[in-house]
């Protein structure tokens, strides 16, 4: 050994690691291998601005178009490893505190192993100069031969739109397959201006949706935040009620209190009938009267397949709510969007819940795309630039986009994400992602966002703007004469006004053309001329620019009024649908397929079914019986001349002969994570169904479903296909009216609303404080805790994805999830209980219960670990020492919450996904247990920061509330972190609430997480027993009658529960029935206090 020096040893170690890796690396799907051996080397010369172990934050903007969202990029050692809330804006009240799910997924796509890394032509690499020259030549040739240069991409706004319009001479199409152009058309029809409405749900007492996934992947994150605000009983003594008129309950629809199931495609007819009913109730006589004149409520309701009485009841609640809002459907449909907006109009909610001043950038319809495709097929298009749109995948096959692309002179894909469209393009010029590029967004009349590159491009990619500028100059293009953005004229007028008001020097406001040297200069110059020029210019631009870059957002006052001006429009004649209906909808994670390439979007369970890595056909119980299929049976679904085979999930959120299929799977040319997973729902769009504006609807028609007799290969993380928690009180709901009245007033005053029977504890042991066998630390500074408000949680799963991003959770793939080995530290349990209302009518009640390590004060896992690998630390955290773990797994067997996750293998992150790993957390190797740590790396960092200010300085509540990744990302504020030893903290205060409950509290685990029960409008008001009696007849009793196993629990346990604490003995065993007790204690509280 003497001859082996340290260097040789390190080399040998590295070689051994490499050999082990290459010898045993499996296909990614079996995503594990032997523990890797890696070298770590320190910087020899440390780059400036990089302090090892310290992150840097850059304000940036993620996602594009109307959904663009200001965030910060967390930068570590040369790359962005995570996204975070832009605290500066949140504290200024200019942004909501949330991280859109899309932001995490976009960031993961930056590191996607199959990204296109350099320019390619016909599948082989070329260099940039060649590519750009070829493109310039093609553009020149197209112009010379009188053909157009066209662009097709997703929604965009800001500078890039202007540049693209200049570049293509106005032939740029900004389109999304399930987008929001229909709403813009509706606004144009009813208010004469083509812009998106600004929805404000925060004060709405009734939210009526026709299927729009406004709590999922539709309409931006702000809507979920507003809805949570409206549902929050502490904001103004009301709880928003949600109605759903749609054939299908998706994750958003699962939050609905009232569900009127229409036939598939019947939403439009139902919406017009509702608009008419509401107009009748409000005696509406405004500008839209004419449109509703021809609507026949009975005929429409019949065509929609719903009872008029059901619609009348919705209409009544909508009108009685006063402040209310109607939102459009699951897929774009101009008629439905108009009907929904009409409801807002006739109920007088324009200006209250629906405002103007929204996004006014280009939103093209499928009709515009069809026109482009027709031009392409006719050979009129010389050059087609395709950006982040994926028309080959997203357009119905009947449109023949692939054939049309073959007739275009040159198709150039400007995207670094491989897709069906890049595969069909002649040339791919990969563009940088939002994290690597400059950019800006005009999300509304009042809000502009700025984006700066937070890292150098990972690969040899260039920014779209630079490509366009270079090619434009190379091809000698001339920009369009007039600026293309509609708002630009207004800006100029305002600018002149502003110029006269101040002493500031005059600024150049001329159009930019292709004049700026590069894309950064383009963005900067545009902001100078169009944004800064409209300010008072008291701050010099250079300074203002840096300030704005740091903030990431610039707000101005804007006119939010809407002027009614009814255009000629008549609703389509209601037509009843026949046979089986197939409802197509956006997937909450994979959206329209754009995120299918991000493994998190595949690995994190579907909120409603728990399905991962696949596509499945949801069928109603009725249809399942008719087809004689059960879960995981394979069926063949045919529609629009196409057929696909997929597994079945018998689904409670469908009625009649309905089925549903989510968009987003069935990619074929999109890299390892997306390819050949499930089926493409767009292939089933027949293309013959159009709305009255002539746009193709993304719906299936002429559907038939047949059983193939085979078994599918679906993998679900939901252990029990039964929907109930079986009376265990994991998901609890309380009477909404009572909750609205009391808010989160302490149970001592409002009574215990949950009605959970607490098992009696021995009085003598209680007095001696002998329930904790071991000594607790004396006066610790912290007891970290969390409050989970299940009333706010809408099940979107953003927290789960954020947890994957923060904590380096392994992606294990479908085969291992099928074997029950997902590594999620945070899961969202979905319980679908049946609640019987006071009239004896049964309603479905979906409760989302985020479940993570409860950090029990008396943790069952800790006492059983033979080697003390899991222990309690002084901050009250249930800590886990990975290095000490030997893997007995006893802790996990003894965790009643089943939140511990075992590394059954060592998992790998295919390069370059490993670059995204959070260096604050170690990568766990096989044989080691792991679980939620409450993001100990974050709590530790913030604790240290405050300790630096003084030894006794404790972290204030404000700095803790959204500290863990899940709480930071949550758009609804359902997760709140805090210090239980600080009486003013949110978790400490919420524990007093009348709707607070602790899961499995009877185990005396002293859980650090308390849950707040969900408001249910159907739940009969629980009998309040005051503080003294520990619960009345709530869940355990009411649900017990439906849930089987807990049937007998309700009454007997109630008898036992009576008299469980200090006041209890008086009432004794006389608590026989709810009614008796209710009459004895009408108000519950007070008598004992």
């Amino acid at each position: 050994m003497a001859s082996l020096n340290r260097r040789d040893f390190m080399k040998a170690l590295g070689l051994a690691g490499a050999t082990a890796a290459s010898a045993t690396a499996c296909s990614w799907d079996d995503n594990w291998y032997r523990t890797p051996v890696e070298e770590i080397l320190p910087y020899l010369v440390k780059p400036e601005q990089v302090t090892p172990g310290t992150p840097t934050f850059f304000a940036t903007t993620v996602t594009s178009g109307p959904d663009a969202f200001p965030l910060t990029a967390r930068h570590r050692d040369g790359r962005v490893i995570n996204v975070g809330v832009n605290r500066q804006l949140v504290q200024a009240g200019e942004a909501i505190s949330a991280i859109p799910k899309a932001a995490h997924l976009e960031l993961q796509k930056v590191y996607a192993p199959d990204r296109i890394r350099r320019p390619q032509e016909a599948g082989s690499d070329i260099d940039w100069n060649t590519g750009l020259e070829k493109l310039a030549g093609a553009v020149k040739a197209a112009k010379a031969s009188g053909k157009t240069v066209a662009y097709l991409g997703g929604y965009k706004s800001g500078a890039i739109v202007e540049l693209l319009n200049d570049f293509t001479g106005g032939n740029a199409v900004f389109w999304e397959p399930v987008g929001r152009a229909a709403e813009a058309t509706a606004m144009e029809t009813l208010f004469g201006s083509r812009q998106l409405p600004v929805y404000d749900l925060s004060e709405a007492h009734y939210v009526l949706s026709f299927g729009a996934a406004f709590l999922g992947s539709w309409g931006g994150t702000a809507l979920a935040s507003q809805f949570a605000h409206a549902r929050n009983p502490n904001h103004g003594h009301f709880i928003a009620r949600m109605g759903l008129v749609s054939p299908h309950q998706d994750q958003t629809g699962a939050n609905a209190d009232d569900w009127v199931a229409t036939a598939v495609g019947g939403e439009t007819a139902a919406a017009f009938a509702l608009a008419k009913l509401i107009a009748q109730q409000t005696n509406y006589a405004g500008f839209a009267t004419a449109i509703l004149g021809n609507v026949d409520v009975n005929a429409s309701a019949a065509a929609a397949g719903v009872e008029v009485a059901a619609l009348e009841s919705i209409a009544k609640m909508f009108v009685e709510a006063g402040t209310a809002i109607a939102l459009p459907g699951a897929v774009e449909n101009t008629d439905l969007a108009i009907a929904a907006m009409l409801i807002n109009v006739v109920s007088g909610n324009i200006g209250k819940t629906v405002k103007g001043g929204g996004y006014s950038g280009p939103l093209h319809t499928s009709g515009d795309v069809a026109k482009l495709v027709a031009d392409m097929a006719a050979g009129k298009v010389g050059v087609l630039l395709v950006d982040d749109a994926n028309p080959v995948y997203n357009l119905p096959p009947s449109l023949g986009v692939k054939d049309a692309m073959a007739k275009v002179g040159t198709v150039v894909a400007l995207s670094s994400h491989p897709s069906e469209t890049t595969a069909a393009a002649a040339m791919v010029l990969p563009t940088s992602t939002a994290f690597e590029d400059w950019g800006d967004e005009d999300v509304s009349a009042s809000t502009k966002l700025l984006r700066q590159p937070a890292m150098t491009p990972l690969w040899d990619t260039r920014s779209l703007g630079d490509i366009l500028l270079t090619v434009a100059r190379g091809a000698g293009l001339t920009p369009m004469a007039a600026p293309a953005v509609a708002s630009a004229e207004g800006d100029e007028a305002a600018e002149t006004e502003a110029a006269t008001d101040t002493d500031a020097p005059a600024v150049d406001v001329s159009p930019l053309g292709f004049e700026p040297a590069n894309w950064r200069a383009y963005v900067q110059t545009r902001w100078e001329r169009k944004v800064w020029a409209n300010t008072d210019r008291s701050v010099p631009f250079a300074q203002w620019w840096i300030r704005t870059l740091q903030a990431g957002q610039f707000k101005t006052a804007a006119d939010a009024s809407l002027t009614p001006s009814a255009a000629a429009y008549s609703p389509p004649a209601p037509a009843a649908s026949e046979g089986i209906g197939l409802h197509l909808h956006l997937h909450p994670h994979r959206h329209d397929g754009r995120f299918a390439t991000a493994p998190w979007a595949q690995e994190v369970a579907d909120p409603m079914t728990g399905q991962v890595w696949d596509a499945w056909v949801e069928v109603s119980a009725e249809l399942a019986a008719e087809l004689n299929v059960k879960d995981n049976d394979e069926v063949e679904v045919s529609a629009g001349g196409q057929s696909v085979k997929a597994g079945v999930e018998v689904y409670r959120g469908l009625k009649g002969k309905s089925a549903a299929l989510a968009f987003g799977q069935g990619r074929t040319e999109s890299g390892r994570y997306a390819n050949n997973r499930g089926v493409n729902a767009f292939a089933l769009v027949s293309g013959d169904k159009k709305d009255s504006a002539g746009n193709v609807l993304m719906v299936a028609s002429g559907v038939s479903i047949t059983k193939t007799g085979n078994s599918a290969d679906l993998a679900s993380t939901f252990g029990s296909k039964g929907d109930s928690d079986g009376g265990r009180n994991w998901g609890v709901s309380v009477n909404a009216a009572a909750l609205a009245k009391s808010g989160d007033a302490p149970a001592a005053h409002a009574g215990d609303m949950t009605g959970i029977h607490h098992l009696p504890r021995d009085q003598r042991l209680e007095e001696k404080q002998r329930y904790n066998f071991y000594n607790s630390p004396q006066k610790p500074n912290y007891r970290f805790a969390m409050t989970v408000d299940t009333n706010a949680c809408d099940g979107c799963g953003t927290c789960a994805i954020a947890c994957y991003a923060e904590n380096n959770l392994a992606i294990v793939g479908k085969s291992l999830i099928k074997r029950g080995r997902e590594m999620n530290w945070l899961r969202i349990n979905r319980y679908w209980e049946t609640v019987t209302d006071e009239n004896g009518v049964e309603h479905g009640d979906v409760r989302f219960v985020p479940m993570m390590c409860q950090h029990c004060g008396l943790a069952p896992c800790e006492s059983v670990c033979p080697v003390l690998a899991t222990y309690h630390n002084v901050d009250g955290l249930n800590a886990m020492v990975y290095n000490r773990c030997v893997g007995t797994r006893y802790c996990a067997n003894n965790c009643p919450y089943v939140v511990r996750r075992f590394n059954f293998h060592s998992y790998v992150w295919p390069e370059p996904l490993h670059l995204q790993l959070n260096p604050d957390i170690s990568i766990r190797t096989m044989g080691v247990m792991e679980k939620c740590t409450f993001c100990v790396q974050r709590t530790r960092r913030v604790k240290d920061a405050y300790k630096d200010q003084g030894f006794n300085t404790l972290v204030p509540d404000e700095a803790l509330r959204e500290l863990p990744a899940c709480a930071e990302a949550c758009p609804t504020g359902a997760l709140t972190f805090g210090n239980l030893n600080d009486e003013a903290s949110v978790p400490a205060k919420s524990r007093e609430s009348g709707r607070s409950y602790v899961i499995l509290s009877e185990f005396n685990t002293d859980s650090a997480i308390n849950y707040l029960a969900k408001a249910s409008f159907h739940k009969p008001e629980a009998a309040h027993h005051g503080g003294g009696h520990g619960g009345g007849h709530g869940e355990g009793h009411g649900d017990g009658h439906h849930s089987g196993t807990a049937d007998d629990h309700g009454d007997a346990a109630h008898g036992a529960a009576a008299g469980h604490d200090d006041h209890g003995k008086a009432e004794g065993a006389s608590h026989g029935h709810t009614d008796e007790h209710k009459s004895a204690h009408p108000e519950g509280a007070g008598e004992h206090h």
Binding site: G610, G820, S863, V867, P896, Y897, V898, H905
Partner: protein, 444 residues
């Protein structure tokens, strides 16, 4: 019923020692199969060490699976041996004489087999030495609150005590083997016999030591399986967390152990022609023991269900209801059949002595007791507190290989024992025969 019927001291010596050191072809084949199974165990262990515990069928809810099931099974098997050798010795039960040696060997080998599993079920089994509270520079210590730590001490104590007790019992017999052989064998057994000459003084000390170790081992019969049961009873998991577990486990252990003694000794006595030493008298007693413990088990099962229902604890009742009706109902009913129903024919005295009936029922009991542990270990975790985390477990082929390998490991030792040690305690047999004294005494 007749007792042991050996004609004389010399016949006893001859009959027992006759079978040693002369392996037949069938024996060698059996030994070969056992060794091959041990090889299978090693082979199946490799992927688990190399690729991780994921090679087993365990999952995020059911973390233990076959390994711990089999661990408890083998620990249980051991108990009959100590019961027969120690407790029956202390209560001076004469029928133990013919069977105790083989039972004791079975105990030692069963504990050795059981001891494999806590090691090889570890996620990082190369760190197994962390279980031991040895002083180290890292100041790491073990958690004495953990039942697994109690297991470490319970099992190692049990193994040590049974091995020593086993060896002490063998010393006089080793001397007989020494005296009946020549050459190398004699030399080896001379060492093993540690100078045993059979003097009065030696017998005096020997009997004192034997009594002492019997008294020392006796409580272990109750304590070891109680401790093993605490692995479960100390947990909060529904279906585990139960005060009935210690007696219930001890009864089950004796039940399975006695059945295993029948399973092993019955063919052995026929093959070796030991009808005079191991016969209906013993089988009848063992079968009665099984009947008693089967009754206790049946009562325990019933009690669990009664308490599950009577306590109105939804978690308890759910798991017991599900065991009998859910996906693992086959395992539950197989357990009930094998442990509660199958022994019932033994209430007819005739069937307690029929070798075929004995052997088949004992085999069923072995299956049933494995299933009992499967029911406890797997079902409770597979069907825990959160319905959203119910996960079914089924063993992977690697686990099945290791299960079979553990049987091979046990059989290998037992077969080696049968040919290298007197499988019936010669010196105790002689206590039942009239001493070969000249005169009238011998005639009687």
């Amino acid at each position: 019923m007749e007792a042991i019927r050996p004609p004389s001291y010399s016949a006893a010596n001859r009959d027992i020692i006759r079978v040693m050191f002369t392996p037949s072809a069938a024996y060698l084949i059996g030994l070969g199969i056992s060794v091959a199974l041990v090889g299978l165990l090693g082979f199946c262990l490799i992927p688990e060490v190399w690729w991780g515990m994921g090679m087993a069928g365990t999952n995020n809810a059911s973390f233990w699976g076959t390994y711990i099931v089999t661990f408890v099974f083998w620990v249980g098997i051991g108990h009959a041996g100590t019961l027969i050798s120690a407790i029956l010795f202390l209560v001076r039960s004469k029928w133990r004489t013919g069977v105790y040696r083989a039972s004791e060997a079975m105990t030692v080998f069963a504990v050795m087999t059981a001891g494999l599993f806590p090691v090889l079920h570890l996620g990082r089994l190369w760190q197994v030495y962390w279980f031991f509270p040895y002083p180290n520079q890292r100041y790491l210590w073990v958690n004495f609150k953990s039942p697994l730590m109690w297991d470490v001490f319970a099992i190692s104590t049990y193994f040590t005590v049974s091995a020593v007790f086993f060896y002490i019992g063998l010393v006089p017999d080793f001397a007989i083997v020494r005296d009946h052989n020549k050459g190398l064998i004699s030399k080896v057994y001379n060492i093993l016999a540690v100078g045993w000459r059979g003097t009065n003084r030696q017998w005096h000390h020997y009997m004192a030591a034997y009594g002492f170790f019997a008294a020392f081992a006796a409580p272990l019969v109750l304590s070891v399986h109680s401790v093993v049961s605490w692995d479960f009873a100390m947990a909060v998991t529904a279906g585990w967390h139960s005060t009935i577990f210690p007696p219930y486990f001890v009864a089950g252990a004796i039940f399975s152990g006695c059945a295993m003694v029948i399973t092993l000794l019955l063919p052995m006595s026929y093959i070796f022609g030991w009808k005079d030493y191991v016969n209906e008298w013993h089988y009848d007693a063992l079968a009665k023991m099984c009947l008693l413990t089967s009754g206790i088990l049946t009562y325990a099962y019933a009690t669990e269900y009664f308490i599950g229902w009577y306590s109105q604890n939804p978690h308890e009742w759910e798991i017991f209801y599900w065991r009998a009706t859910g996906e693992y109902a086959w395992a539950f009913w197989l357990m009930v059949f094998c442990n509660c129903v199958a022994p019932l024919p033994w209430y007819l005295p005739k069937l307690r002595t029929n070798p075929w009936v004995l052997w088949i029922i004992a085999g069923l009991i072995n299956v049933g007791m494995w299933m009992e542990r499967f029911n406890i270990v797997v079902s409770s975790t597979a069907h825990g507190f959160d319905p959203a985390m119910w996960r079914m477990y089924s063993p992977s082929m690697w686990e099945v290989g290791i299960l079979l390998g553990s049987c091979g490991w046990f059989m290998m030792y037992f077969l080696l024992f049968a040919k290298t040690m007197p499988a019936v305690a010669i010196m105790e047999i002689k206590e039942l025969i009239a001493a070969p004294v000249k005169g009238k005494l011998e005639a009687k």
